[in-house]
Amino acid sequence: MEKYLYTALFAPLVSSLFVALFASRPKMLFTGVIASILIAISMVSSFVLLIDVNTHGALHVNMMDWIVAGNLYIPFGFVVDEVSVIMMVTVTLVSTVVHIYSIGYMDHDKSFNRFFSYLSAFVFSMMILVMSDNFVGLFIGWEGVGLCSWLLIGFWYHKHSASWAANEAFIMNRIADLGMLMGLFLIYWNVGSLQYEEVFATLKDLDSVVVATIGIFLFIGAMGKSAQFPLHTWLADAMEGPTPVSALIHAATMVTAGVYLVIRCGELYSMIPDVGFAIASLGAFVALFAASMALVNNDLKRIIAYSTLSQLGYMFVAAGLGAYWIALFHLMTHAFFKSLLFLGAGNVMHAMHDELNIKKMGGLYGSMKATAILMSVASVALAGIYPLAGFFSKDKILEVAFNEGAYFLWFALFIGAGLTAFYSFRLVMLVFFGEKEYIKHGFHPHEAQPFVIYALLPLGLLAVIAGWFEHQFEGFTTRLLARYEIHISHGIEIVLIGATLCIAVGGIAFAIYKYQRGGFSKTWEEGFFYKLLSNQYYIPKVYELYIMRPFTMLSQFVWQKIDMKVVDFTVDSIARTIYKTGEKSRKMQSGNLSDMLRWMVVGMVVLLVLALFYRPMA
């Protein structure tokens, strides 16, 4: 089975390196095709591994040593177990679709080849992330996806906003990475190893404070990658990247790496329920917080991005409350329908010549039926309507929250579900139905190429059916992950499901009702809440005003005032003082013979005086 493992892992790398050879050349179709094929091979291998793990259990290989120093031993080791194989399948599946889709989407881009190189490199990094058998290996992938995210967000580097967003994403992630590194250091110095197996085996012997600290540090890492508050601003800005990138990286895979980390460290987090609860609370907060921002945004991609953020919050609630398999389940289903949503949005953008303002769209259903249907399906799934995928996974999370007695969290998520339904359909309505605003702006929308639509079909299918495998999924993953027992009675469960469904349907209905009549009136937009939400709670502004600018000013100050005017000046003035003393002492050398003789005599006299009055002790 090892060869499947290596195939799954390295096919994307081969793809990336191969395509990179043509990176600076003009578009060559075969690069996209070959990349897609290689990623597909990786996907097939992943499925083979899935079956294999199901029958034979986990697979663990140690490829080679990496860092060996002192007591520290870090190999390139890979593990394919119930969790990682699910991630692998999800990642490769979505990646394959996105690769194929991109052949169409990037058709006219002059950096077509480069795009595929980066995209495949991302898949490779992601595979490393999920397959590694130790924390540092995970960190390689972690940083690798960060790099690829940087490259891909800033793919159109001639755009200022794109490169700015890329840097923002990278730097914010770095902040979190530092937390993660600290966690790794702490683990190392307490366990002496960074292998998952050894770490989890030793955890129970450790001081609970240490475990909690490790948990917090690792979660800080997760917060960056999964864009949790307050490190969330990069995600919305990351929408500057090409849409396939948003679909793959910023919806389906990379941003869920944080959730994956928490799930992977389930054994650790289950020892520290308090930290877990804090994670869940933050998750619930973000779920609501992000959803609220999605309500008013007019940017097609940003709405979906906020939705992603909100869903990540759901995942963290589940993971924080110890329902790891449920978090993973939602992660997977979300990957399917959210990437579908993004890719559909990509189609819309293409049709609208990269216009993103949904207020300028409307009535696109007429010209792009397939896309409209796919996106509607994805939205329904996202809203959590039975029997689509989102229903099964999201409802489970609400149940978990209720089950844990965290009614407040449950309530937040409950409201969030309603908001989700509303904004999803606000988007659908504004884009595909209602007035054809685009005509005013002179757009001529057209449906995407057929193969692009076909490529989306598997995702559409999965968005519908993925939830049906809930029990198989539970059975499979809980072989490794902790089981989660739901204690609440069946009746209450039914009531809860009903309530959730109601609010979701209510949200949808309200959106349809409202936007068929042209939406809210303009006066709304003057309101405080609207402004607050549309300005993202002014958080980016705060960051700019109170972090970036002061940092820039402080840097300037440190350089020009401290380094130049104090440190360097001191050094120079020492030298200058010595030199000036030289100029002064030079006056002694007047060249006048009388002065010279006087110096001699004065010297004698001074010494004589000293001889009389200066009596040092021996």
Binding site: Q589, S590, G591, N592, L593, S594, L597, R598, V601
Partner: protein, 100 residues
């Protein structure tokens, strides 16, 4: 009674006079005289001390000093003449080409 102390005081006084001369005189010739006074002051002292100890070393030293003083004068005057021939002055303030 003139004792050794008196001679030594004389030596000291003469030496001081010489020193003042060395410091104050700007005429090179007078300057040389001052240095001669210095040496001769010491001579007096040597001879007196020599007498006091009944030891000839001091007197020998005095003779040598006289000899050295003589040659000094010879060299000094030679230099002085050279300078005078070139500059027409024996003022030591004219010796200020080099400084700094």
């Amino acid at each position: 009674m003139i004792t050794l102390t008196h001679y030594l005081i004389l030596t000291g006084l003469l030496f001081a006079i010489g020193l003042v001369g060395v410091m104050r005189r700007t005429n090179l010739l007078m300057l040389f005289f001052s240095t001669e006074i210095l040496l001769n002051a010491v001579n007096i002292g040597f001879v007196a001390v020599s007498k006091y100890y009944g030891d000839f070393t001091g007197q020998m030293f005095a003779f040598f000093i006289i000899a050295v003083a003589a040659s000094e004068v010879a060299v000094g005057l030679g230099l002085l003449i050279l300078w005078y021939k070139r500059n027409g002055s024996v003022d030591l303030n004219s010796l200020q080409m080099m400084k700094g």
